[in-house]
Symmetry: C2
Subunit: 239 residues, 2 copies
């Protein structure tokens, strides 16, 4: 069976957390919005609240599993983690990985809001003043708090070197993406923050070096960071 992933074709966005999981396990998937002829936004938006059978999705990413549609990033990863060994076996251990993923989702939401504090219906340029305030608070309070939390989680599980259990989970893959994105968006603030979180830095490197992830990152399937996604490099928002 080939999965079908519906996500905006020109950004990494939240869809990248699903792409990384699919790539890490070598799953076959079609990235529906990306065609040899170029990006196909209509194919992605058609799946939302559409006429398709199955439960409607509020927003992408949406994963089509044999005709059944699953949405919400952490929910898709909960499914894929169980199917492909990217999560531990026991119920409580799986809930722990889900808890970590939901905390990563909160982190990603706050990162997004640094450039869109007033509303997703407006351009960055229309909320730049507010973004300067938002980004300052993010750099000073929220960035070290979130990174410090994950550093603590890694310290608790230091023998393994992963966030949870003894092997790489989808939460590790997502954490890699958050670190990579933060380095792109806030190079100065992130360089300073990482001094205090060496285990987070090592986790990023360890995921980067996984053979399938490494191959993916070097391929054309990996969309470069850009100023349409979650992680945007606006120098005025960095320190």
């Amino acid at each position: 069976m080939t999965y079908r992933l519906y996500y905006w074709p020109t950004i990494q966005g939240r869809g990248e957390l699903v792409r990384l999981a699919l790539e890490a396990v070598g799953a076959e998937y079609e990235d529906v919005g990306r065609t040899p002829e170029g990006p196909n936004f209509g194919a992605v938006s058609s799946i939302l609240w559409g006429e398709q059978p199955g439960p409607p999705a509020f927003a992408p990413p949406v994963l089509d599993v044999d005709g059944h549609l699953i949405a919400q990033t952490a929910n898709i990863l909960l499914y894929l983690g169980g199917k492909h060994g990217l999560a531990p076996e026991g119920e409580l251990d799986r809930l722990w990985v889900n808890q970590l993923q939901l905390t990563i989702a909160d982190f990603v939401g706050e990162i997004h809001d640094t450039h869109h504090p007033v509303g997703v219906q407006l351009y960055y340029e229309d909320q730049k003043e507010e973004a300067l305030n938002k980004a300052q608070g993010f750099r000073e309070y929220r960035l070290p708090k979130f990174l410090g939390y994950f550093e603590r989680v890694l310290a608790d599980n230091a023998d393994a070197g992963w966030l949870a259990g003894t092997a790489c989970t989808y939460a590790d893959l997502s954490m890699f993406q958050v670190v990579a994105g933060l380095r792109y968006a806030f190079p100065n603030a992130m360089a300073r923050a990482e001094y205090s979180t060496p285990r987070v830095t090592l986790l990023h490197q360890r995921v980067r070096d996984l053979p399938r992830i490494s191959a993916y990152l070097d391929s054309e399937r990996r969309i470069p960071f850009n100023e349409d996604g979650i992680f945007r490099h606006y120098p005025e928002l960095d320190e």
Copy 2:
């Protein structure tokens, strides 16, 4: 076994979504921060990143299940839903309820940000100008979009009258809370919005009338809405 719930003792907040699930199934639980002597914030904050065994939580609510700590609202509900019949049996059906709950979580996050668009480390009074802009966009675009989505979900499942499957799930309980909170925070905007979403209105009433929920809402265990929680009534943010 008696559950122990760790959540801020003077607000409904995200903890209320857990309280409603516990109340709906008649579970025994101790609301740790609320004592006969008054609110005990220290008991709640002590659980975060603390010295307790088990996985650390980034933020409350945290549910102690026989010494095992579970955090993140949707994650706690995923656990409770499975244990107490507040979710369907099949894996894909449970993922669907989880997907709905995560969309409710996104909705709740945006509602919170109407009064805190710049940062949780600041008071409302310090971000009031930005809040006026944020709330306007929320009322005009996001509120009808989210409510319209859940109206569509209810229309798809009209025979049952619940969001998912044939019985009340924890997502229905959370949706009740969101409607109640929006009516408190944005009475004018919500009155207008509900004209277009009669099924959402009926769902709220149906949950309100569940005997255990009704008894809970009339009890002193239900904390009144106030201006420290997620749903705050600031008339200047309403239409």
